[in-house]
Symmetry: D2
Subunit: 185 residues, 4 copies
C-alpha cells in the first residue's frame, strides 16, 4: 500500500488502534458513523478509479483499484461475499481479490466477461439506506445507490453491504450484493 492514492481511502482502511476509545476502554464495536463514512469512501473510491483511468489510463486505474481492495475490502480476512452488479454465471460471485479486481478494471484473461465497471466515467455516488443493522464489529446495510456518469446519466442499483471492523480498527467490506432493479417485461 505504497500508492499515494491510498490517502483517499483513509476513512475506510486506516490501520490504527481505533478500538481504544481511551486508556481505560477498549471498544471493538463498529458505529453507525463509521458505517456511513465507509459507504461514502466506497463511492469516492469508485469515482477516483474512473478519474485515474481518464488521467492515467489502465495502469493508474488498476493501481488505485488494487489499493482500494487492499484497504477497504476484507479479502485478507477470508472469502468476501461479493456479487457485483453485472457479473454472470459461472463467475457471478467474486470471493477472491483477483475476481474483484477483474470486475472493477477488467484486463484479466481469467475473467473474460469483465470490461471494467469502475472505468466507465463515474462522477458521483449517492446512497439511500433503507435500514442498517449493527452487531458487534459487523454492520449490514441495504438500500439504493445512485451512480452518475460524466454524461449525467444515473444508474440505480439495489445494494447490500456488510462491513467488519478488524482488530486494527480498519472497516472492511466483507459482503457486497449489488443488483439492477427488477423490470417487469
Amino acid at each position: 500500500m505504497k500508492s499515494r492514492s491510498i490517502s483517499l481511502f483513509a476513512t475506510i482502511g486506516v490501520a490504527c488502534f481505533a478500538g481504544i476509545a481511551s486508556a481505560k476502554t477498549y471498544n471493538a464495536n463498529i458505529t453507525e458513523a463509521e458505517v456511513l463514512a465507509a459507504q461514502k469512501a466506497w463511492g469516492a473510491a469508485l469515482v477516483k478509479i474512473s478519474d485515474d483511468f481518464a488521467s492515467g489510463g489502465l495502469p493508474k486505474a488498476k493501481a488505485t483499484a488494487n489499493a482500494v481492495l487492499d484497504a477497504a475490502y476484507g479479502y485478507n480476512l477470508g472469502p468476501v461475499l461479493f456479487k457485483p452488479t453485472l457479473t454472470v454465471a459461472p463467475q457471478t460471485f467474486r470471493t477472491t481479490k483477483a475476481g474483484a479486481l477483474a470486475y472493477f478494471v477488467g484486463d484479466d484473461k481469467n475473467f473474460p466477461s469483465d470490461t471494467g465497471f469502475a472505468l466507465k466515467g463515474w462522477k458521483k455516488v449517492d446512497i439511500e439506506n433503507a435500514a442498517i443493522h449493527i452487531n458487534g464489529d459487523v454492520a449490514k446495510t441495504m438500500g439504493k445507490v445512485m451512480i452518475t456518469d460524466k454524461n449525467g446519466k444515473v444508474t440505480t442499483v439495489d445494494k447490500t453491504w456488510a462491513f467488519k471492523k478488524d482488530d486494527m480498527g480498519a472497516v472492511r467490506i466483507v459482503l457486497h450484493h449489488s443488483s439492477l432493479p427488477f423490470t417487469a417485461n
Copy 2:
C-alpha cells in the same frame, strides 16, 4: 402461531435454549449446520405456501406465510433488510412484516404491485452457496438458489441471507437480498 403448519418450520424457529450445550457451557454462537438447516427450511416453507394455496386457497396460504414470517424471520427483533426478487421502487425494500407478507401472498392494497410470489406453484428449492461467513450469532451466506415450479421450469436467483440466532435459540433471517441474474440483453 396457532397454525398447525408451524411444525414444518421447527428447524428454523423452534424456541428452546439451544444455546446451552451442557449444564456447564453456554454457547450463543450459530453453527454452519444450523445455517444450512435454516436455508433448507426456507425452501420447504416456500413450497409449503404454494402447496397450501393449491389445496386451501389464499386463506390457507396466508396463514402459513404468516407463521413462516413469525417463526423464521427476525421482524420481532427490528427492521429486516429484505430486498425480494421482484419488488420495485418505491416499495423495493420490505423492512416490515406487512411488506414481506404482501410480497409472498399479495392481497394487500398497501402493496398494489404484489401478486404473491409464493403462490406460483413452487415445488422444489435447491441452494448452492458460494461462501458462508459465521460471526458470533450471525451467519451470512451468498449463492445461487434454483426454484422449480409445477411445470418443471427453473428460476435461478442470486441470493444473500443473514441469519441470527436469537436468545431462545431460534435462527431467524435478518437480511435477505434476492435478485435475478444480470442479462446483457
Copy 3:
C-alpha cells in the same frame, strides 16, 4: 416480577426494543453508558435489599433480591459465572439463581454457609473501573468496588463483571467475580 420494587431496577432490566435506535437502524451493541448505568443499578439494588431488610424483614428483602436477580442477572439465558466475595468450596460458584439468592439473603438450607450478604446494612456503593472492554452486546469491567455500611465502615473488593444486552434490550450480569484484596499477613 410483580414486586413493586422492580421499578428501582429499570435501568438494568427494562424490557423494550432498546436495540432499535430509529426506524431505520437496529443496533444490538451495548454502550459504555449502559454499562456504567448497570453498575450503578447493581449498587442501588444492594442498598435497596439492605434497606428493605431493615424496614420489612427477610420476606421483603427476599422479594426484592428475587426481583433483582430476575431483572439484572442472566440466569434466564444460561449458567451465570458468579463467584461471590465470601463463598467457599464446595459451593464457591453460584451458576444458578437459587445459589445467588441464597448468597444475597441466606435462609436456604441447601446453602448452609450463607448468611445473607445483602442484609448487612449496606448504605452506599462506589465503583472505580480499572478498564472496560466492549465487544458486541457484551461488556466486561474490572475494578475496585467500595461498599459502605450503616456504621460508615468501608469494605473494598476487587470485582469483575460481564454484562450482556439481551434481545429485549435488557442489560444483564452474566459474569461476576468478586474477591477481597490479597493481604500478605
Copy 4:
C-alpha cells in the same frame, strides 16, 4: 517473539487463518476446544517459566515470560483486564504488559511489591471449570485452578478468564481475575 521457547505456546498464540474452515466458509468464532487448549497452554507456560528459572536463571525466565505475554495475552489489542492473585493496591490491576511481566518474574523497580509469581517452582496446573460462556470470538470461563509446586504443595485459586480469538486465529487472554479462596478466619 524470537525466543525458541515460543514453540511451547503454539496452542494459544499460533498466527494462521484459523478462522477459515474451508475455501467456502469463514468462521471467526471461538470453540470450546480452543478454550480448553488455551487454558492448558497457560498452565504449561507457567510451569515452563518456573523450569526456565531453575535451569537458566532470571534472564531465561524473563525471556520466556515475555514471549508468553506476546503470544497468549491480548496486550496488543488494548488494555487487558488482569487482576493477579497476589497484587495489592495501588497496583492491583495490570492492564499493561509491563505490569503483567513484573507480576510473573519481578525485577521491575516500577512494581516494587512484585517478587515473581512464576518463579516459585511450579510443576503442575489443574483446571476445573464451573462453567463456560461462548459468544462470538470471546469465551469466558470461571472455576478452580490448582497449582502444585516442586514440594508437592497445592495452591488453589478462583479464576476467571476471557479469551478472544483475534483476526489471525490466535486465542488471547483479554481478562484474567485470580483470587485466593475466602477464609473466614
